[in-house]
């Protein structure tokens, strides 16, 4: 049986991510958890969730999954929240952290950019505006609400990579799509029916990549 492999580096609650993929894949895939590099070898697709700080995330990933970068480039990959942010070149969290540089652009501090009336973290339901026609957005209205929890926001440099944007005083990149990679700032596993639809679309798209 094919595996959807969720990376566990000890920094996030995997319960909902695992359950949402299980629900959507409808027993066609086995949803596994990877704690070592070897676990990733068997993966048909890789999911990288994450909460917390970019620096400790990068450290743990570098230590526990030294070949992750290579896997991301070669297997269908779904990054969520911090798993989206670390794809960029640099995050300005904790005085700056070098990230994976798979997507051109950087991750910056909301509190330095937005009106003081707005709260940080950006937490709650906000509109995601699709920038591309793509399988990943099938059966999801062009502007739909998804659930966010984050204090840093990403700006992708290349329009080509931007799959959606969201406005929280400023416009930021809320998802990217490139080659075999889809990643989003919001939490599809907490975004009700459109979140589940997105996960389902990702699986469909992954199958078409092979």
């Amino acid at each position: 049986m094919k595996n959807i492999t969720v990376i566990d580096y000890g920094m996030s609650n995997l319960h909902s991510v695992i359950k949402s993929f299980q629900k959507v894949s409808n027993k066609k895939y086995k949803v596994c958890v990877a704690t070592t590099n070897e676990d990733l070898e068997k993966a048909s697709m890789i999911v990288l969730p994450g909460q917390g700080a970019a620096k400790s995330c990068m450290q743990k990933i570098t230590n526990n999954f030294p070949r992750l970068h290579e896997h991301i480039l070669n297997k269908p990959f779904f990054g969520i929240c911090l798993g989206f942010q670390i794809l960029f070149e640099k995050s300005y969290e904790d005085n700056g952290v070098d990230c994976l540089s798979i997507i051109k652009g950087s991750v910056n501090d909301f509190s330095k950019k937005i009106s003081q009336d707005l709260k940080v973290p950006h937490m709650g339901w906000n509109k995601v505006e699709q920038k591309k026609d793509h399988t990943i957005w099938s059966n999801i209205p062009r502007t739909s609400f998804f659930y966010f929890v984050h204090s840093y926001y990403a700006s992708a440099e290349s329009k080509e990579d931007i799959s959606s944007t969201t406005t929280y005083d400023i416009d930021f990149t809320s998802s990217v799509i490139k080659d075999n990679i889809f990643a989003c700032q919001f939490h599809p596993e907490k975004s009700s029916k459109y979140g589940l639809q997105l996960i389902s679309n990702f699986i469909t798209w992954s199958e078409s990549l092979k």
């Binding site: 609650n13 909902s16 359950k19 973290p121 709650g124 339901w125 659930y147 907490k190």
Partner: protein, 251 residues
């Protein structure tokens, strides 16, 4: 543009079943948590809150099972509270599938708990529930499900919670809870204006206008209600339509 104002149905849970207290005393059974949560998700609830109302007094293992069952089926943010005493209680609830945990009595007894959770897990997952009742000179904070009066002033206590790292305040007016007369928008507004973290209004919702008033007059970021939704008087989607028509940014 801010985030959408949230509508949060609250499920008071006792021994794995959903109940709703009238002024925290009189209890009516209103159903199975998983089925109710699914129904609310379908109707467009932005989040679901479970409060284990008898937990300060009795065993609380049931709630972990409820959270896990609901989290397996319902994919929106889940907030859980009631009887949370320690960091390990918080961690257990998060591991069972909760996204946020509310603490009340334990926060008053040991305010450092707020700092501990924030430092170890993050600000977004801790909600301090503040039960308040008006007296002549101030609003007093109550603990133990409304049974114990403290000398803490509501406004000062909310400010302290924020300073210690609370992600949100769930403010319940005990004077209004169960009355269906509307929220206490005066104190709600005062606290919302003084805090920079979100304030969830609770206690007193009897009509859709009450929900609107809590947002417009009370400046609440979210409204929590139970009985008006549980007994089918209004659906969440009706509430959303009502608010949207009045110009509120809702999902």
């Amino acid at each position: 543009m801010s985030v959408a104002k949230r509508i949060i149905p609250c499920l008071d849970v006792d021994k794995g079943r959903v109940v709703k207290g009238i002024n925290f005393v009189d209890i009516v059974d209103a159903g199975d948590p998983v089925e109710i949560a699914k129904k609310y998700d379908k109707e467009g609830a932005d989040e679901i809150t479970f409060l284990d109302i008898t937990a300060s007094y009795e065993g609380r293992d049931n709630i972990l099972g409820v959270v896990e069952q609901v989290a397996n089926e319902v994919f929106i943010p889940l907030t859980v509270g009631g009887g949370v005493k320690s960091f390990s209680d918080v961690r257990d609830l998060l591991s069972a599938g909760a996204d946020k945990v509310t603490i009340n009595t334990a926060a008053v007894a040991n305010p450092d708990l707020i700092n501990e959770v924030t430092d170890k897990i993050g600000r977004q997952c801790i909600v301090v529930a503040v039960d308040i009742k008006k007296s002549i000179e101030q609003y007093n904070v109550f603990t133990h499900g409304g049974r114990h009066k403290t000398q803490l002033d509501a406004v000062n206590w909310c400010l302290e919670c924020q300073a210690r790292g609370a992600g949100e305040i769930l403010l319940t007016s005990m004077d209004k809870d169960g009355t269906k007369e509307g929220f206490d928008n005066e104190i709600l507004c005062e606290i919302s204006n003084k805090l920079s973290i979100p304030v969830i209004a609770s206690g007193g919702a009897g009509s859709l206008q009450d929900l609107y008033d809590a947002i417009s007059l009370g400046k609440a970021d979210a409204v929590l209600a139970a009985s008006i939704f549980h007994f089918g008087e209004y659906s969440i989607s009706q509430a959303k339509d009502f608010l949207r028509d009045k110009g509120v940014f809702v999902r």
